[in-house]
Amino acid sequence: MTAMSAHEDIQELLGAYALDALDVPERAEVEEHLKHCAECRREVDEHRDIAATFLEETIEPPPEAWEHIVERLDQPAPPPREDRRAVSLRTALSLAAAAMIVIAGLGIAVVALARRTPAPSTSQAALQRAAQTALTAPGAKRTTLRSADGRLSIEVVILPSGRGYLVSNNLPALPNGQTYQLWAEANNQLVSFGVLGETPGVSSFRVEPPVVALAVTDERAGGVPTPTRAPLLSGSLPPGSG
């Protein structure tokens, strides 16, 4: 078959494709076709739904499996999540790394940027550039989160759009198994803005009313749904930000 294979020829392969039973060249051929054939995509999805019923048993994985996942949650430095809609239009087949991801709804999100390796990543470098640009952008407002004793601080800049950056900080590295976590105060409650890792770098987030302040706690790796510690640092947002 050539890349120009007829739709019907591809259709005959869809069951085997959905079960990962094609060899590499045929698989590639099907994937090429799926990019522009909604009907065949739908059929593959249906086959996968059926295949998912084949195995009726479930086996709980050993507890270490989850522990290992939690340990690695703040390890990769995914690129900033900016535009979910654009991303969701990609098909699941697109293996291209999504450069941008979304911040929707409350607009509450933060990029986990902590890495255990010191090597700077391209996404961290890009964020640093974005944060530096933000510092001098028109209408940008700056604020500082401080610890009670004033020794720890995080410099924050917030653009008129509500996009904010943790620009720099003097936080000490946490021991393994712990992470800094950023919180937004809204309606007298703290809402998680995400984990910052054990050695926070530049992070991006977005604030909208009714967020009035930011706070940072130290928590176990992976983060927690509600703070378990008193904030290490906190600070009000400049009036009119977001």
């Binding site: 060899d23 059926i50 295949a51 009726e56 479930t58 994985p61 995914p78 990609r90 999100a109």
Partner: protein, 213 residues
Amino acid sequence: MGDSDTQTARRSAGPGFDDGRSPALRAGEDLSDGALVVAIGRWQPQALAEVYRRHAGAVYALASRILRDSTLAEEIVQEVFLRLWARPETFDPERGKLRSFLLAQAHGRAVDVVRSDVSRRRREEQSASEPHPGNADVGDQVWKEAVAGRIKTVMAALPEKQRKALELAYFGGYTCREVAIALGEPEGTVKSRIRAGLRRMRAELNSAGIEPS
């Protein structure tokens, strides 16, 4: 399958976010799979924990069945959930259920592993038809068992050659070429049988009023 899965998950010893203190978590348990993936997109680890509670058992069971090796299966579980954490946008709720998506990911990865030399040698020492001795969740709902029974019945009712082809491909991780050799049939026939078998199962399940997955 949200509700019965959630019930099952609550009973099982899952990830450690269930500390009984968190209203956010209890709310998370009521969220749909789709809503949880959106929350994962906002870096909410407790949403990942809830998805894990709901689906890790199925992912692990499938990987164990294909790989017949608990260590390798555990690695697949980690990969699948870390990938969801890093790239939640690859799941499109309009294209199917989260469980199907996670199982498809696990299947693809497990098959890649199984086709590597080391795993293949290890696996060939065991019989392909030997049932996997898993500690299946005995707490499952009666309803779920009834559905499972129907699926089994539907599968058993498939023509023998369709069923064999499906089993070898899905649980054995064999390519169509290998299935063709095992069954002594042309490769094209095997491909057709797999597709026909899947379509037939879908039709039978639909007419029995069972929504797959």
